[in-house]
């Protein structure tokens, strides 16, 4: 039943936000930052529960560890970039949010290059 706790945590946070928004707008922005950080942490604890079996499956299917590690990094980058972009968008500066997303995409692209080359190489080997 802890999903109820989490949702109520968000609702209480939102309620606090509405009160603090008129009185102290800067503090309300920091409050949103804190609430999203805590909720992201909780989501992160759930993700760790998922990662272990997936890792075992990857080892079972003898997937190259390098690929799995890069995929994990890519997920991490996406995770942080989305967090930063939402916070910036919440603060009202959508331009900065799009810049953060751009940097996140580029970082993911950089990490994805070796995997793509590996796939292309295997395909070219298969061709006659």
């Amino acid at each position: 039943m802890d999903i109820l706790q989490i949702v109520l945590f968000g609702i209480v946070g939102a309620l606090l936000l509405t009160t603090v928004r008129e009185l102290a707008p800067q503090v309300s922005f920091l409050l949103t930052l804190l609430i999203s950080a805590v909720l992201f942490l909780i989501a992160l604890q759930r993700v760790t529960g998922i990662l272990v079996p997936i890792e075992r499956l990857a080892a079972l299917a003898d997937v190259n560890v390098l690929f799995f590690a890069t995929i994990m990094k890519i997920i991490g980058i996406a995770y942080i970039a989305e967090f930063g972009a939402e916070i910036a968008r919440d603060a009202g500066v959508a331009s900065i949010a799009s810049k953060i997303e751009l940097v996140g995409k580029l970082a993911i692209l950089v990490l994805a290059v070796p995997i793509v080359t590996a796939v292309v190489e295997t395909v070219t080997h298969l061709l006659p």
Binding site: Q5, I6, F9, V12, G13, L16, T19, V20, L23, A24, Q26, V27, S28, L30, L31, L33, L34, I35, A37, V38, F40, L41, I42, L44, V47, T48, L51, A69, M72, K73, I75, G76, Y79, I80, F83
Partner: protein, 67 residues
Amino acid sequence: MSLELHVLFQIAVVGIAAAVLSSLLKQSGRDEIATLVTISALVLVAAVVVSNISHLFVQIQNVFANQ
């Protein structure tokens, strides 16, 4: 890190207290002290939030980049 609701309430209380105090100080004519109070409240809240955010980022690194 479990669900710390009290941190939320602490931050809300600091924000509201700072707002009330600064408006009180503004009424009584001491404007510079009012700005000082608001800034110090902001710094306090920022310190708490930054420590939580750094905790989050450390957790992310542990989970995703564990090489």
